[in-house]
Amino acid sequence: MRLGGDRLGRMKRLLPLLVAGMLIVNVPAQDAVPMRLRDDQSNAIKDWVKRHLADSVKTYKHLHANPELSFEELKTGALVADAWEKAGFTVTRKVGRTGMVGVLKNGAGPTVLIRGDMDALPVTEKTGLPYASKVQIKRPDGTTTGAMHACGHDVHSTMVIGMGQMLLDLRRHWSGTVVLVANLPRRSARGRKR
C-alpha cells in the first residue's frame, strides 16, 4: 500500500491536468448543436414513413423512368413544386432557371434548409429494371444519348417531395421555418458537375 503523502503528491501533480480536461470536455457541451428529439417525435416520423412509403416509391419509379439533364429539369421541378404547394408550402418556381423553393413557417424557432438535387446524367441505362429509363436526348452536337438517374438524384427528389408532405402533417411536432430546395448545379453554364 502506498503512503498517503505519495498519493497527495500525485494528485497535486494531476490537478492541472484534471482542470484542463474538464475545460476541454466542457467546450463542446456549451457549443453543441441543439439537437433534441423525443420518442413521440421519432415514432411519429417512422409511422408517417410507413404509411406513405408506397406512394414515395411510386413517385421514385416515375422520376427514374423520366430523367432530365441539368438545366432541363422542367417536369421534375414542376412535379416537386406541385407536391409542395399541395402540402401547403409557399412555393417559388424557377429560381435560377429550373430550381424550386418551398417555404413553410410554423412558429418561432430556427430555419432549416433541406436540399435535394434533380438532375440526371447522359448515360444509357442498362439495368434492365421494369422502370428503367428509355429516354433518349439529342445533344448539342447532333448525336443522341440515353438519359439516366445514374447518380441517384431521383431518390433525392423523392426525399424532398416526401419531406414537404411529412413536415406539414407533423407540424405539431416542430417549431420554426423549413426551406426546401430542389436544386440544379450552380453557375456551371454547360451544366456539368461532379
Binding site: P28, M35, T92, L113, T127, G152, M159, M163, L170, S188
Partner: protein, 262 residues
C-alpha cells in the same frame, strides 16, 4: 440558384442539410464524414489547333490528334511528378473529340478535363501546370496557334461538414438505424455543389450518405471473389428503392425535427 437570390429572397437558414445516395453502402444504412468531405472541382476545356490535311501526307499537315495524345500523357505527370504524394489531386481527361474519318487529319481536337484538389495551393499547381504543359507541347509540335484553354468559372469549392452538427446527427442516426449501420467514411475526390450553401451562409452544413444496395449484394461485394457493385454514374447502378427511400425520409426528418424547436 444562389446567384438568383436564394439566400436573400427566402428566410436565411441556420442549418443546411442534404443527403446523397451511395452505391457501396447497404440500403438501410447511412454514412458520414466529419469536416472536409468533398474536393475542389474545376472543369477545363481545351482546343488544340493543328493544320488539317490528307492522312497519307502527314508531313504537309500539323496533326492535332498526335499533339493531343502527347498533351494527355504529359498532363498525368502533373499529379505524379509535381504534387507531393501526400497531397490529393486528380486530372482526368473525360472527353476527347477530333476528326471525322480514317484518312483525314483534322484542324482541331477538343478535350474536356475534370480537375480535383483539396487545398488552394494544389489547385493552383494543377491549373497552372495544365496551362503550361498544354501550351508548351503545342508549341513543340508546331501548332499554327496557341491552344484555347478555358477554365470554367463555376468551379465547385471543397465541401465541409460542420463537425458539431455531424456529431449530433451521428447520435440521431445510431438511434435510428443502429450502430452497425452508421458508417464513417473517408473524404472523397468527388465534388458537391452543396458546398456553396454553408460556405456562402457561414452556417453549419451537413451532407450525409444514404445506402442503396440490398444486404445480399453488399455482403457479396465484400468477398474477395465477390462481384463489385456498379458505382454512381454507371449504367448499371440501381438502388433498392423501398429501403433507400425509407432511410432517406426517416433520417432527414429526424435531423430536421431534431433541430426545429424554440
Amino acid at each position: 440558384m444562389i446567384d438568383d437570390g436564394l439566400f436573400e429572397r427566402f428566410p436565411k437558414p441556420d442549418y443546411c442539410l442534404a443527403l446523397h445516395v451511395l452505391h457501396r453502402l447497404p440500403a438501410g444504412s447511412v454514412g458520414f464524414t466529419s469536416g472536409w468531405c468533398h474536393a475542389n472541382m474545376d472543369s477545363v476545356d481545351i482546343t488544340i489547333y493543328g493544320k488539317g490535311g490528307h492522312g497519307a501526307r502527314p508531313h504537309s499537315a500539323v496533326d492535332p490528334i498526335v499533339t493531343a495524345a502527347q498533351v494527355i500523357t504529359a498532363l498525368q505527370t502533373i499529379v505524379s511528378r509535381r504534387i507531393a504524394p501526400s497531397d490529393p489531386g486528380v486530372i482526368t481527361v473525360g472527353s476527347i473529340h477530333g476528326g471525322t474519318r480514317h484518312n483525314i487529319i483534322p484542324d482541331e481536337v477538343k478535350l474536356q478535363l475534370t480537375v480535383r484538389s483539396y487545398t488552394d495551393e494544389v489547385r493552383k499547381k494543377l491549373l497552372d501546370g495544365i496551362r503550361q504543359i498544354t501550351t508548351d507541347i503545342c508549341k513543340t509540335m508546331r501548332c499554327p496557334k496557341e491552344p484555347l484553354i478555358v477554365f470554367d468559372e463555376g468551379y465547385v469549392p471543397a465541401a465541409y461538414n460542420d463537425p458539431k452538427l455531424t456529431a449530433a446527427a451521428v447520435d440521431v442516426f445510431r438511434n435510428l438505424v443502429g450502430k452497425g449501420m452508421v458508417f464513417e467514411m473517408p473524404p472523397t475526390m468527388g465534388a458537391e455543389d452543396f458546398s456553396h450553401y454553408a460556405r456562402t451562409l457561414k452556417v453549419p452544413g451537413l451532407q450525409y450518405r444514404v445506402g442503396t444496395v440490398s444486404l445480399v449484394r453488399y455482403e457479396n461485394s465484400l468477398k474477395a471473389d465477390g462481384k463489385s457493385l456498379p458505382s454512381l454514374h454507371s449504367a448499371l447502378f440501381y438502388p433498392k428503392p423501398e429501403a433507400a427511400i425509407q432511410t432517406a425520409l426517416e433520417s432527414m426528418a429526424h435531423l430536421a425535427i431534431g433541430l426545429l424547436h424554440e
